[in-house]
């Protein structure tokens, strides 16, 4: 009897208040939910942004190091080169890697860039300037770390600029190409001369000289990157 009276009382008088309390609880719940979604989205966005910046920094390093190696090769192939040995080349390359390391540290990343020497303590990298060939071989160990990810890899270089020729009855077909670990790129739009005389550029890495090459002829190829390759017949 008493219970029924209470029920009746609640039904009649407190229905609105109960509804109000429920509405407040629901509102708080919804606001918390919105906040959680917002925070999750925000955290995810911040993480994504930092990862993008981190990868951009690595890309900057890789782009410049790739270009650095080619420039080093170009410098090495020039008559007045500052690179006189593989050890000097190693020191110059390591200087660049140290500079890149400092840049990464300034950005707040942990970075270790080291040459993985071909023969430890003897030959850090290998530069060759031979007849018809200018090449570079070397490996760089890369370790980078930010709050959300790390990059552990090795940049491996084996690049060779090469000049070859084939004599025909009336002329000589000279090929100028760069050979990497991944592919062979034929170098068009370069400057190829025979005994300082011009050749006809077919723009696909093939150059035609007006006569067959004979002993003592000197073929010089200069790529867009200023890598000079000399081939003495």
């Amino acid at each position: 009897m008493k219970r029924n009276m209470i029920r009746q009382f609640l039904k009649e008088n407190r229905k609105g208040q109960i509804f109000l309390v429920c509405a407040v609880i629901m509102t708080i719940y919804m606001l918390s939910f919105i906040n959680i979604v917002y925070e999750l989205n925000r955290t995810q966005y911040t993480e994504e942004l930092e990862i993008n910046e981190f990868q951009a920094a690595f890309d900057n390093f890789r782009t410049e190091t790739d270009a650095y190696v080619i420039t080093m090769l170009a410098n090495f192939s020039q008559p007045a080169s500052i690179i006189d040995s593989d050890t000097t080349a190693g020191l110059i390359l390591q200087d660049w890697l140290d500079f890149a390391e400092d840049q990464m540290l300034e950005k707040g990343y942990i970075a270790v860039f080291e040459i993985d020497e071909l023969i430890p303590g003897v030959q850090p990298v290998e530069l060759i300037n031979a007849n018809g060939l200018v090449s570079f071989r070397g490996d760089i160990d890369v370790y980078m770390e930010c709050n959300y990810m790390s990059i552990v890899t090795q940049l491996s270089y084996d690049i060779g600029y090469t000049l070859t020729y084939t004599n025909t009855a009336t002329n000589a077909i000279i090929d100028f190409y760069v050979d990497t670990t991944l592919e062979i790129n034929y170098i068009g739009y370069a400057q190829v001369t025979v005994n300082a005389g011009p050749t006809v550029d077919l723009f696909n890495g093939t150059y035609i000289y007006s006569a067959p090459l004979v002993g003592g002829d000197v073929v010089v190829g200069i790529s867009i990157e200023q890598v000079i390759v000399t081939l003495t017949i």
């Binding site: 966005y45 942004l49 910046e53 420039t71 110059i92 660049w96 500079f99």
Partner: protein, 159 residues
């Protein structure tokens, strides 16, 4: 009369039946409305422009990096930086970046000595989200170890 009396007699029963039937339907409609509101709310949350929040980071640094990287890949950046072609560099960056993105730039060597600055008199508003890029270069042409660090700051004029 019989029918009339029948109708008169049956009316409250029918009303009750309809009410009972409709109560379920009404409840169902309510549920649908509530679910629709929830879904709309969820969509609205994901579509909110968070950039209006001052502390929320913008992707300006990414835009700045992509611009410098594209110029470097195209072989345009180094000649301008190493030959101190500041007017050309200013024009090229003005054209590459959106009109509502303000920027300023300084170029330093490896010791931190300033080589030149562009638009350095510009100061980002205190409440602006500023994107910062430090892009480094090793040298130009066959020159090695002439390092340069391009420090680029970007912020939006509006929003």
């Amino acid at each position: 009369m019989l029918i009339q009396s029948g109708v008169i007699y049956m009316a409250p029963v029918l009303k009750l039946r309809i009410q009972r039937k409709r109560r379920g339907q009404l409840f169902l409609i309510e549920v649908f409305i509530a679910l629709s509101v929830l879904i709309l709310l969820m969509i609205a949350i994901y579509q909110v422009e968070f950039s209006s929040d001052e502390t929320y980071p913008d992707n300006l640094s990414e835009i700045g990096y992509n611009t410098l990287e594209a110029l470097n890949q195209a072989g345009t950046l180094k000649p301008l930086v190493y030959n101190l072609q500041t007017t050309e560099l200013t024009n090229i960056l003005d054209n590459a970046l959106a009109e509502n993105v303000f920027w300023r730039l300084s170029v330093e060597d490896d010791t931190g000595t300033n080589i030149f600055s562009l638009y350095w008199e510009r100061t980002p508003p205190a409440d602006a989200s500023v994107g910062v890029v430090d892009y480094f270069l090793f040298g130009y042409d066959t020159i090695l170890n002439q390092y340069r660090v391009i420090h680029l700051e970007l912020w939006r004029l509006v929003g």
